[in-house]
């Protein structure tokens, strides 16, 4: 299903969140969305990481490999309830993604679907000093470059 991708699935999913109005590119005052590395500021932020996905083998008619890519979404917030609300909003929005066209840089992609593998997971506080709230949710993404 995926074929060649010029950007990682986490990067592509970030653009989906930005297009849906749930996140912004850094620098942003709130809900800046980063990839692979969680910045110290802003306090309310979203970070996406690539994780292992799922391999469904090949389709019989044409031998195309069917795979979905894993993404972990981490939501950090100063206020616990705000963070939960944001994480649930992201989860609900991902549930509705279907054949969404996104553009990352000069590359166009088609996100077929996003399947969540977990609900919003509450982690312990970030550190004993900052006490910022951390939540994660996991999903697998089906994506290919647009023709």
């Amino acid at each position: 299903m995926s074929g060649p991708l010029l950007h990682s699935p986490a990067n592509i999913l970030r653009q989906v969140l930005v297009d849906l109005g749930l996140a912004s590119y850094p620098p942003a005052a709130q809900w800046a969305c980063s990839i692979d590395v969680e910045p110290d500021e802003p306090e309310d932020s979203i970070t996406l990481y690539d994780t292992d996905g799922r391999d469904f083998g090949r389709t019989m008619p044409d031998g195309e490999r069917q795979e979905m890519h894993g993404v972990l979404i981490r939501v950090r917030s100063g206020d616990g309830q705000e963070g939960y609300a944001k994480a649930r909003a992201v989860a609900a929005a991902l549930d509705s993604v279907r054949m969404q066209a996104v553009t990352v840089g000069s590359a166009a992609y088609l996100v077929w679907s996003v399947s969540r593998t977990t609900d919003v997971v509450l982690l312990v506080k970030e550190t004993f000093v900052s006490k910022r709230n951390l939540r994660t949710l996991n999903c697998v993404v089906s994506v290919r470059m647009a023709a």
């Binding site: 969680e38 994780t51 292992d52 389709t59 008619p61 997971v121 982690l123 951390l134 023709a147």
Partner: protein
């Protein structure tokens, strides 16, 4: 893009899938859970940026569960082939997953690793 037939539309496959599920339900209703009971297990599992000087990584349970599906299924298949009941095959499969996770789990005091267990869910 050309339309593809989904697998369930291929003639006869639906009957095979249905028969396999029926056989599975008849021979075993066992379900096993693999997990870690340490209170901070989820935090360690989900923290992708943590550095573990003694080795180990995040997603220590998810990674083998996703990437070693065929190997895990083979454990159950071989057990059943050897004459063991299906629920025993499932238990061995769960134990194997726990072994794989224990090879990836970060170790500091060893408490997290020791908290890993296989439990029969039903």
């Amino acid at each position: 893009m050309a339309a593809k037939k989904s697998m369930v539309e291929v003639e006869g496959l639906g009957r095979v899938v249905k028969a396999t599920r029926h056989w599975g339900r008849r021979h075993s209703d066992a379900e096993y859970t693999v997990g870690y009971s340490a209170p901070y297990a989820v935090y360690v599992h989900e923290d992708m940026e943590a550095r573990h000087p003694r080795g180990g990584q995040a997603k220590f349970l998810e990674q083998p569960a996703r990437t070693q599906g065929n190997a895990l299924a083979a454990v159950c298949r071989q057990a059943v082939k050897a004459g063991l009941p299906l629920q025993e095959g499932l238990r061995l499969q769960a134990e194997r997953l726990l072994q794989m996770a224990n090879q990836l789990i970060p170790v500091d005091t060893g408490f997290l690793k020791r908290s890993g267990a296989v439990r029969r869910a039903r």
